[in-house]
Symmetry: C2
Subunit: 154 residues, 2 copies
């Protein structure tokens, strides 16, 4: 159900399929380093100040969780033909904070598969990517619409 | 309309207000470095391979644009009391690719201001953050719901 490089085409995708992949641990140093550059707020960079924040302790930036999720998707089993190219998201939420030492995995579930009306060579697929911590709790839920190539029929 | 540290409370925010901030240029090295770590796909890391992709040339990862947007919001004029804490996004889209050398700015528009029903010390604000390139074209549109502290009334 995939080509020589193991890539999946629109025709290989069916709603309900779930694709997994590797895991990634975010330790305290990684959380503070990412936040120092991109989301420099005390609850992401300073373990002491973080105890007095709404988070009650150091928490990863949601953008760190999102970037980690993309890394895990790219290294994971979804492997769409043409690459993982999202035109946009319908949902992105962070139901629980990511804490130092949390190990994340992503489960990508195919929600909908739709050929393009204007371009016979591709289509779009709606995917819900749920990022889980080592307790199996969702720390991020993302619903995205991605482009995917169709098989060329001779 | 703000406290000693220039932070804004729920009571300071009115729909229609637009807050700006500094700018950030994403050069080719920055685009390739970010993507190598978080979104390792040829159209974000390899200028030659990128010409054969849907992007037609090197483009920043959308997650790089999102992280840059957060950096510009944190350094910008919105300055919500308690920090910029988003519970989730209602929309995140990338209408145009970010190209090497593009200079980004963010305009954050207050859409809605709502006190919490359960917690008299805070509320939520819906914000549309539009990330623009140097031609004034939107490269990212994000609608987020952020928590914000209320003024304590004695």
């Amino acid at each position: 159900m995939s080509n020589d490089r193991g890539e999946r085409y629109l025709e290989d995708l069916v709603p309900g399929q779930v694709y997994g992949g590797p895991s990634l641990t975010l330790d305290e140093a990684a959380i503070r380093t990412f936040a120092s550059e991109w989301d420099n707020q005390p609850f992401h960079t300073d373990p002491v100040a973080a105890t007095r924040s709404l988070f009650g302790g150091l928490a990863a930036s949601g953008w760190h969780t999102a970037a980690a999720t993309m890394k895990l998707l790219v290294a994971g089993d979804l492997r769409l033909a043409g690459g993982l190219i999202g035109g946009g998201l319908e949902q992105l939420s962070w139901p629980k904070p990511v804490r130092p030492g949390d190990t994340l995995t992503v489960q990508a579930e195919i929600l909908e598969v739709r050929p393009s009306k204007s371009n016979p060579s591709r289509g779009v697929v709606r995917v819900r990517s749920t990022t889980l911590n080592q307790q199996g709790e969702a720390v991020q839920i993302m619903v995205s619409v991605m482009m995917v190539a169709r098989r060329l029929v001779g």
